[in-house]
């Protein structure tokens, strides 16, 4: 079969694995409720990234979760990059639909543009790709938990974080540096406000890192000492 057919098979599998998992469905339902409640509050890009990021963390943890999901990738024996890109494509499709729906629901106060959706999707995928890569290494729950925490606390700007931690200067310096190199929600707001390529580049870099790490996780096992053949 062609690579396109293999990518499609992986994307469909990822959609099935995500949509048919009760945690993902429950998260989606909660987000719809949250969107309904927050409709009059507006929220803009940061609101979209917050809601989409939580869904991304939950959904992206499923396609390469340890156990059957990961095992299917090994059994298929396809090129690991094809597998990862296909599964990320499936998650992306799910997140795109959710983002478009959320944009439409919030459209009364914040008329959406394609650029707005692209910005939101880039920031959301920068959460999804690392979660996809972390799932085989630390488990689906751990990866989803980290993604959700990053999404929730990522709304905090580095300046606000610095103020919060001013009593602990050593911790503050490290935390602020970390805040500046990770794909957190505050950066999406800055990207929206200031434009430019710096913020977009960091998001894209993290998507690339996620794909590379997930591909590495799918390579032949190294779980026995030596491994010489």
């Amino acid at each position: 079969m062609t690579i396109a057919a293999q990518v499609k098979a992986e994307a469909v599998l990822a959609l099935h694995l995500a949509l048919r998992h009760r945690a993902v469905r429950l998260t989606g339902l909660l987000l719809v409720v949250a969107l309904g409640l927050a409709r009059d509050q507006g929220g803009g890009l940061s609101g979209l990234v917050l809601l989409g990021g939580v869904l991304a963390a939950t959904a992206a943890a499923r396609p390469l979760a340890p156990g059957p999901a990961f095992h299917t990738a090994r059994r298929a024996a396809a090129n690991a990059v094809v597998t990862v890109l296909g599964r990320l494509a499936g998650v992306t499709l799910l997140l795109l639909v959710a983002t478009l729906l959320a944009t439409l629901m919030g459209g009364a106060r914040n008329p959406a543009s394609i650029g707005h959706v692209v910005m939101a999707m880039t920031a959301i995928l920068a959460i999804a790709a690392p979660v996809l890569a972390l799932a085989p290494l630390i488990g689906a729950s751990g990866a989803a938990g980290m993604g959700i925490l990053a999404t929730l606390f990522g709304q905090l700007s580095p300046t606000a974080l610095s103020v919060m931690l001013e009593r602990w200067p050593l911790v503050r310096d490290g935390a602020v540096r970390g805040w500046n190199v990770t794909p957190l929600g505050w950066r999406a707001d800055r990207w929206e406000a200031q434009g430019g390529w710096a913020d977009a580049s960091l998001f894209v870099l993290w998507i690339g890192l996620g794909v590379a790490a997930a591909t590495w996780a799918l390579l032949p096992p190294r779980d026995i000492e030596g491994g010489a053949q």
Partner: protein, 303 residues
């Protein structure tokens, strides 16, 4: 070309400090069309062997080839169909969706994909439940779907780990016949199982693993053609059983006495004469054909 080559395979869990390797210098070959049973007690190394050949584990040392390709490489993994124990299947999918996914990666075109799926469904006899979610399957259904998945993906070698266990006898009989047909078409198989009846009926050869060591590699027709004489000894004579075991090579202790393989021209009369000579009181005797469990017991006791 030989379907499977294993040379000096060592698998050690927990690093070099591990007390005993899971596989210790195991070597054998399997020809295309051959069905080999891998048998032995729990912890003998059967699953480790299959995991190495399937590319799921890297050996600590040694060589393992699948149709000339190193086990674990993408080329080798594409030649292997593996049905692990327990079956590792995505509960969220239907059986058909799972097979469709696997076939998409292995078939060259949509027609071949449809043909592979149809053949696998027919072979594993899963048509009546293949559209249901895997999460609703019984254990037997899951085993049959795992077999279908292995058949779809493995053009050269099938590795079946307890795949026919837990399946009703009539379906099991049909599956054995279907696997025999695949073997006649040139597919090599290793069937690891504790169900020795299945291995005796299906396999043409048996690898007996004991504590990670390949203790015996026998042709099934040689083994099953041999006879065994079982001696039930009087209570007072049980102590002499050890002496009888030493007298006859391959003899093993049983619950009531001794089982002596009738090989190398040994006759029941000679065994009884030896008992009389050693003043061992025999309560009853029975001559039967040898089975795999005799071989496993003999190798386990000598290990």
């Amino acid at each position: 070309m030989t379907a499977i080559v294993v040379r000096g395979l060592i698998v050690r869990y927990g690093g070099r400090r591990a007390a005993r390797p899971a596989l210790d210098h195991v070597s054998f070959e399997v020809a295309p069309g051959e069905i080999v049973g891998a048998v032995g007690p729990n912890g003998a190394g059967k699953t480790s062997l299959l995991a190495v050949l399937a590319g799921e584990r890297r050996p600590t040392h040694g060589l393992s080839l699948i149709a000339g390709e190193r086990a674990g490489t993408p080329a080798a993994r594409r030649l292997v169909g593996w049905a692990p124990e327990p079956p590792i299947l995505p509960r969220e999918l239907t059986g058909f969706e799972w097979l469709y996914y696997l076939a998409t990666h292995r078939a060259r075109n949509p027609a071949e994909r449809a043909s592979r799926i149809r053949e696998a469904i027919e072979l594993a006899q899963i048509a009546e439940f293949v559209e249901r979610r895997i999460g609703t399957y019984s254990r037997g259904m899951a085993q049959r779907l795992a077999l279908a998945g292995a058949v779809i993906t493995g053009p050269a070698v099938l590795l079946l780990d307890e795949t026919l266990s837990g399946i009703d006898p009539l379906v099991q009989r049909d599956l054995r016949e279907a696997l025999a047909v695949l073997a006649r078409r040139g597919r090599a198989m290793i069937v690891a199982s504790h169900d020795l009846g299945t291995v005796e009926r299906l396999a043409t050869r048996a690898l007996v693993l004991t504590r990670g060591v390949l203790a015996a590699d026998v042709q099934m027709h040689d083994l099953l053609g041999q006879r065994v004489m079982e001696l039930a000894l009087d209570g007072g004579a049980l102590a002499a059983a050890a002496g009888l075991c030493a007298r006859f090579p391959g003899a093993i202790r049983t619950g009531e006495g001794v089982a002596v393989p009738l090989e190398r021209g040994l006759t029941p009369e000679q065994v009884l004469a030896a008992c009389r000579a050693q003043r061992v009181a025999v309560a009853a005797t029975r001559v039967r054909y040898r089975a795999l469990d005799d071989l496993i017991a003999a190798t386990a006791r000598s290990a």
